[in-house]
Amino acid sequence: MGLPAKSARIDGRRQRSERTRQTIVEAYLALLRESPRIPTAGQIAERAGYSIRSIFERFPDLHALRVAATDHAFAIGNTLATPRDVDGDRPTRLRSQVETRAHTCERWLPLWRALNANQGESIELKMRIRLGREMIMKRLELMYQPELSSLSEVDRKRTLITLEALTDFESWGRMRELYGLSFEQACALWIRVIDRLLPPTPTPRH
């Protein structure tokens, strides 16, 4: 059997390095889910099964690791939170939007908290936080398009701002952690309140 070509060896090395990078990102996210404290490089390396040096060979500093973890979370979050029932009736759209958002909050709240706590003066993290919020707004606009279209521009903006505040990560966190609501109870609360805040659904024209 001949030796592998040089390009095949480089490809293999690159794949291994990518896997290591991915394992480090996942270790960071797993630690965040277990404890609200920001993990140290030593803890991340131990969880990932690599040395601290391995981490800093792939990420110049912990800030770069946070940015990579955020991008990873965005990619997964987008895949999991596919818009569903966009043309459903009002109760179906309400349930669909709330449940999708609730799952996102349940899964990504620890990372969101770490991002906010670490954003400091980091332009990259601030930009990602902003992007995350814009995506939430766009989703709300999409799911409640029939109701929002009946409002003036100013009222539409006001309603969107209110809905975004209501369905914020920390609002979810407080319902679950502080007020002790179950996942279903918390969803039911959001559904009732959003239903109350939205204007009546216009009758479709035939």
């Binding site: 404890s35 609200p36 404290r37 906010n116 706590a117 954003q119 400091g120 003066e121 902003r130 919020r133 903006k157 006001r158 701002i161 209110t162 975004e164 505040a165 209501l166 914020d168 920390e170 609002s171 407080r174 319902m175 502080l178 007020y179 609501l181 609360l189 009732r192 309140v193 109350r196 805040l197």
Partner: protein, 205 residues
């Protein structure tokens, strides 16, 4: 002239020490308002006009200083957020509650953020944050008692949780920074939202 008595000397020293402590807390709060970064001991000491050693003579660590700042802020905020118009009509009560809450958010947001970011390192800090949220809930209950009293317990709780989420510090901050609303426009958003969330005001019998 007779020498001051021993207790007068001790009292004077205690007062000076208390003033130094207060200056340090105020320097910490001023720095938080200027930048979102949690200030270092050296910056706080410099701003207050004392040495770092003086700071650590009064506070064992920066967490203790943030706790003292939280207590100071809570007292101040309570004094500023005087309860008004509790028995007024619905629009007056909504406007009063919203403007009072907006004033608190506008003034204390930087400290709130610093406390929030550090809460996982101190049970005392968590307890104070909880206490502050309880105070917000109690104020909402007081101001909207006529409307809330018409609801069953479960529904009342739901409305209170929703009102608390909507009038949170960060909700205010996003209206002002991300969405660029003026203080008046942001108050108008809250007023409309609260008005649509509350049930009808029962007629006075």
């Amino acid at each position: 002239m007779a020498a001051p008595s021993r207790s007068a000397v001790i009292d004077g020293r205690r007062q000076r020490s208390e003033r130094t402590r207060q200056h340090i807390i105020e320097a910490y709060l001023a720095l938080l308002r200027e930048s979102p970064r949690v200030p270092t001991a050296a910056r706080i000491a410099e701003r207050a006009g004392y040495s770092v050693r003086s700071l650590f003579e009064r506070f064992p660590d920066l967490l203790a200083l943030s706790l003292a700042a939280a207590d100071f802020a809570f007292t101040q905020a309570n004094a500023q957020a005087v309860i008004r118009n509790v028995s007024a009509d619905r629009p007056t009560r909504i406007r009063t509650q919203v403007e009072t809450r907006a004033g608190t958010c506008e003034r204390w947001l930087p400290l709130w953020r610093a406390l929030h970011a550090n809460q996982h390192y101190s049970p005392e800090l968590r307890q104070r944050l909880r206490f502050m949220r309880d105070a917000v809930m109690r104020r909402l209950e007081l101001m909207y008692r006529p409307e809330l009293s018409a609801l069953v317990e479960a529904e009342r709780r739901r409305i209170l949780i929703a009102l608390e989420a909507l009038t949170d510090f960060e909700s205010w901050a996003r209206m002002r920074s991300d969405h660029g609303l003026t203080s008046e426009d942001a108050c108008a958003v809250w007023i409309r939202t609260i008005d649509s969330l509350l049930p009808a005001t029962p007629a006075v019998s």
